[in-house]
Structure formats: C-alpha cells, structure tokens
Symmetry: C2
Amino acid sequence: MEISKERLRNDLLKNGAFGKVSSSGESHGRTVLTGSEADKKVRENFISILQSLDMEIKIDPVGNIVGIWVPETANRNADPVVVGSHLDSVPNGGIFDGPLGVFAGVEAIRAIKQSSHSPACPIQVVSFTEEEGGRFGIGLLGSSVVGGQREESEVLTLEDQNSVTVKEALDSIGFSGKDCLSPSSWRSWLELHIEQGTVLERANVSTGVVTAITGITNCKVEIIGEANHAGSTLMHERTDALVAASEFVKRVEQIGIEISYHDSEFIAVTVGEFEVEPNARNVIPGKVSLSIDIRDTNESVIEYVIRQIKNTLSRIEGEYKINASFETYRSIDSVPMNERAQNVLIDAGEKTENEVMKLPSGGGHDSMNIKNKTEVGMLFARSKDGISHSPDEWTNWDDCKKATQILANAVVDLSCDI
Amino acid sequence: MEISKERLRNDLLKNGAFGKVSSSGESHGRTVLTGSEADKKVRENFISILQSLDMEIKIDPVGNIVGIWVPETANRNADPVVVGSHLDSVPNGGIFDGPLGVFAGVEAIRAIKQSSHSPACPIQVVSFTEEEGGRFGIGLLGSSVVGGQREESEVLTLEDQNSVTVKEALDSIGFSGKDCLSPSSWRSWLELHIEQGTVLERANVSTGVVTAITGITNCKVEIIGEANHAGSTLMHERTDALVAASEFVKRVEQIGIEISYHDSEFIAVTVGEFEVEPNARNVIPGKVSLSIDIRDTNESVIEYVIRQIKNTLSRIEGEYKINASFETYRSIDSVPMNERAQNVLIDAGEKTENEVMKLPSGGGHDSMNIKNKTEVGMLFARSKDGISHSPDEWTNWDDCKKATQILANAVVDLSCDI
C-alpha cells in the first residue's frame, strides 16, 4: 500500500489556498472561519474530492461533513472505521492544523482502494465544524454535538460578535445538513494532527502516538497591594502588587521546572493573562489579576501544582504584605486514548521503517469529544519548531506522508481483520 | 500674629464642598475640573473672599487668578511677595491638595492685616489653573504659561477629549481674563502644599521645608520572548517574556531599596505600567512592555539607576534568552528651591514652637514653573498616611494651622524688612 506524497501535498496546498492571508507572503497564512466564503470553498472542495472517490456524503445540522466509502468487500451495515479532523483555522493560521488529519484520511482511502487489502467494513472521513472556536468562541464545537457534550439546539443558536447564529452562518453557505453522525456505532475513531509542540522534533522522530489528551485547570489569582503616588512613597513603605506578583510568576515557572525534572511527562504551568491596576506611569501598582493554566494528563500532578501555588501565595502574603485570592474557574479532565487504539497505531508504525514514540497531547482535540462514544486513537506528526496557529506552521511533506502511511496501516488493521 | 484655625478650616471645607462626590460619603471627595460648574463656583467663592478683604482681582487669559493686597504701609510699586497654589482637583480627589496653599495665603493676609506688622510691599495670592491636568491632560498648565514653559496660544487651543478648547472651557464659566501675571517682578514666591507622602508623618514633624522638587526620568522597556501554545511547549523550551519581566521588576525594586540604604534622600524607582502580549489564558507571553519612573533630586543618582537597569537587562537577556530594549522618553530636571527662601522658611518655623524638617518633593508642583522667574520656596504640611488624590486625603486642622503660621511668618519676613 503506497501513500502518495504528491496527492497529499496537492490536497493540502489546494485546501490551504482558500482564505489565504495575502500579507502572509511566501508562507501559508489562511483564515477559515465558520460560514465564511473561504469556509464554503473549503467544504465544497472537500466534498468534490470525496465525490471523485465515489464516496457518499452526509452533512449534519451543525455542518459536520462525513464521506463514506463502502468497499466492495465490506458489509455495508458493519460498524465503520472513522478518521478525520477539522478544516477550519484560527485567523491567519497554518495549513496543516486540522486539514492534515482530514486529507490523510482521504489519502489513506485512496491508497487502500489501490491496494490488495479487503476492508470488511465501511471507512469514513469526517471534518468537524469550528474546532478552533474562531467565529463562535467555543473550540471543538462540531464534535461536541456529535460527542454529546452539547445540545444541537444550543450550538445552532450560539451567536458570533455580530449576533449571527451558527445556523444562520451555516445556512448562508449551504452547509446546514439533516444527517446524523452516530459515533457510538463507530468501530474506532483515529485522528492524525500536527503536534504543535517540539517533543517529536527534539526526539528526532517523525510520528507520535498520543497516550492522553491533557487535563486543563485554569485558575485566577488576584494580588492586592496599595496603589500610591510613585514620587511620594518611599521604597520601604510600599506594598507594590506588581513586585509581589513578579515573585509569584517566577515561582510558578520554577514549580513547573522542578516537576519536569522528576516527571518527564509533565506538560506545563503557564501564567498567560496578567493585568496591572491602575497601570499608570506614576502610580505604584495596587492590584494584579492573573490567570494560570495548568496541564497534565495526571490529575494528581495538577492537584500538586495547585497546592504548591497556594503555598507560594501564602508565603508571598506574609513576605510582601499583600492580600491574595485564588480561584479555580475551569477544569477539564484528562482524556486517555484507548490502549487498543494506541497499540494498533504503534503496530502500524512498526510496519513502516520509521520510529514512533508515545507522547501526551498538551492541547485539546476533537478526539476528546468522541472518546466517550467509541474507541479513540490519535497520531501526531512532527511540527517544525513547534509552531502552530501561525503562517509559519510547517510539517514537511515527508513527515506528512509517514504519518499518513501509519494512519492508513492502522485503518487497514482495524477494518480488514474483524 | 494669630492664625485662625477656624477661618482656615471654614474656607477649606466650603471650597471642598464644591464638586463634592456624593459617593464619597463621610469623607471629602471632590471633582473640580477646569471649566466645570464646580470650577466656576470654586473660583467665584475665592474671588468673593478676596473682595471681602478689599483685595484687587486680576485674571489672566488662561484663568489664573491673583488677589492683590496693597498694605497702607506698602509702596504700591514695590515688587510683591506672592503665595498660592491651585484650586482644581483630580477626579474624586481630596480637599487639601492645592486649596491648602491658596487659603493659607488668604489666612496669612488676614492675620497680617490684624497684626502690627507693616509690610513694605504688596502681598498677592495666586490660584493657578489646572495643576492636576484633570481635563486637558497636562499638569501644571496655568503656571506653565506664567513661567514661560508654554505659549499662551498653545495652551488656549489645547483640547479635551470632546474637542473643547481651554479657551472655550474658560469662556463658558467667565474666567478668560485679560490681565498679565509677571513672576519676574515677584520678590518671592512661596507655596504651601500637602506632602502627599509619609516622610513628615514618620518623623513626627508637622511641617517640612522643601529642598528641591524631584527630577523625573521615564523609560520604556520592551522584553521580547516567544509566544507559544501553553500546552505544547515544555517548561524547558520556553522563552516566556513575563517570567523574564518578573525577574526585571523584582530587580528594579531591589535597586531602589539598595540605594535607599545608602542615600536616605533617594526618592524612588517604580514600574507602573505593565502590558503583556498576547495576554491570553493559553498562550505563553511573548512580549512585555513596561514603563519605569525614576525620581531623585540628584541627577547623578538617576543616572546610576539607569546604569543599573541597563546592566540588569543585559543580564536578563543572557539568562532568559529574551531580547530587551530600553528607551528614555521623558526627562524632567530636578528643581532646587532657592537657598534663601529655604532659610526664610526654616527661620519662620523656628519662630513657632514646632519642629521643621527639610525634605525633597517627590511630586511636581507649580513652583517648578515659577523657579526660573523668581526666588521660590515651598512648605509641606503632613499628610495622614501619605494619602492624596483620594477622598481619604487628610491633613489635620492643627497641622494646617501650624504650616499656615510658618507661611505667614515667612511672608512677614520677606515683605516687612526690605
């Protein structure tokens, strides 16, 4: 079974040109938001490719698209093996994040068709609507309806910043369908995605098998000092919220680094949002509000980080005479990938000449939503410099091909010997 | 010569009630912006008090008001001794910042009138327009025309946020005058102001003589790291601009504290503005822009602080792999008060029972603008907890009286024995 780098490359470049950001120049910036003209073209192109492969098309009410191939050797009613990802992008995003998984699925079907393999069940390729949350503000949107995390009616009435609903946006491009995707009848779901990190690159490995999608806990910290005139409050007399917050930020990073030394699987802790009040040239900062993002696939590690953060705040309250508050406002459980799917992917990798390694995913993916409906596995392809959500996002064509080969091997494994 | 605490208190409370902020409750919040209804009442009240003392009134084109008392014993054409300050406030400011200096001048004249002293020259009381920059954004506005720092035509055409000019604002309340203030013919200028700091309070001294108004240097620092996904960039792989900036902020405070140990007159260094980009929950900060405010009466100390800051940035560039830029965007020279005026004020203090101490001013005052036209001296009255620009700003009535007594003594000294 031979994966064609050329076909895959052509599909990704053609798809990547829709919504091209002209200022991205030589690089491949694109903006594909739900219901936009670019989204319409992306979807129509995808459907035309599926049709050229004689696949049946289904579209559900939230615009998720599925292409169905029923091999001659298959029982039409057998549970299908399903692969895919998403075709939307963040504003000025890259051409691989999402489309690689969709067009790798298409290419896998082409390759299987041309091979001597005899799938015993249908094989489907899915593109989920608005994985990035770029227009309606909620990521993993289409898959959340399929996975049962959100009600279809709730999603259809979500509004963008101009009060346009998801339904109106989909209607306007003709992609509000009537079909139903039922992942609980899927034999397996496999998603290939770019890593968006540097674990594979540093290990010099082209493809990874995801062990689990990270859990995420978001906390909000407020540090209250005393705002005072910068010219008339002596250095010793200050309760500078920014200085105290600076000590805190440094310590939070240190907590993360210390855990990394002992636990090479530890994902990360990040202070991303940071607001100073009154934020004036001549006033000592009186208040800092900041957010912390803690990620790991192991809940107890996240809990340990929170304990360390709380201890740090207590210490800083004493040392800096500030008042601190701490609140967890969002917590998403880690989603482990199924053992069997991981093993199938590892085996599929061993059939190629390329080394495959296991790694956790630090970001969320549609596969999270599918997990409670069926068996789920994920592959990662190496990202150049770990960059994503940028015109500079890149995965070289050989790596795209290698990962697609592994995906195709796994699809064969799951669909032929049932 | 007897200062009346009651009269002074009544003047300050009556003036402080114009523009009262209702939400300030028991405390004395007021908002008096140039050209507002409150400003009109404040000015009319001031003029009516001057008239009740048979003083001549002059108003210049930028709304500065001067009341002139020509004692019977005085040569009408002799250079006057002039005292005063300002009557405007910041939004929801206090009742002492500015008005104390104006009404202490009024009370000094009342007390001298009732005494046996025989001033040989006129004594004037001035209220300068918009010291706080509350409406037109530029502090020390009225005095800058009198001191020659700004052209009258430039100031009159300045616009507020609604494109109303200074001239229109003054016309609307009838305070656009035709007279001219000529400080180069003033014998001396004395300003009493609240300290807005805690030096006097900590020293348990009610009144201070200002040695110099601080120089201010403002710098802008940018720290450039690498924005990356918070979930897919390992702790060791990050170039987190916020972590580097946190180290910088901590070190800047340390520089200030270290200098304070060796130089008890050192004023301060403050990081007041601090902006993080992209400032998103799930993105490692890629850039921090911050401003630094360095104040001291000694230019070489400010230069030393800048050298230390630059050294710190170089070190952080190496240790944190960030790029840093440094720029000085504003530099105001320190303004020393005249030696003779300081001595007159010290002597005036010794004539009371109260200890007087010398101290620098960490904030700017109208006196800065007058300095290059004539001899200038400043007194500070103790501020409770150093608070100002707040409804909680407070200077107790005894301290107001003591400082006014010293001001009056100095006016007598400067006007009687010439």
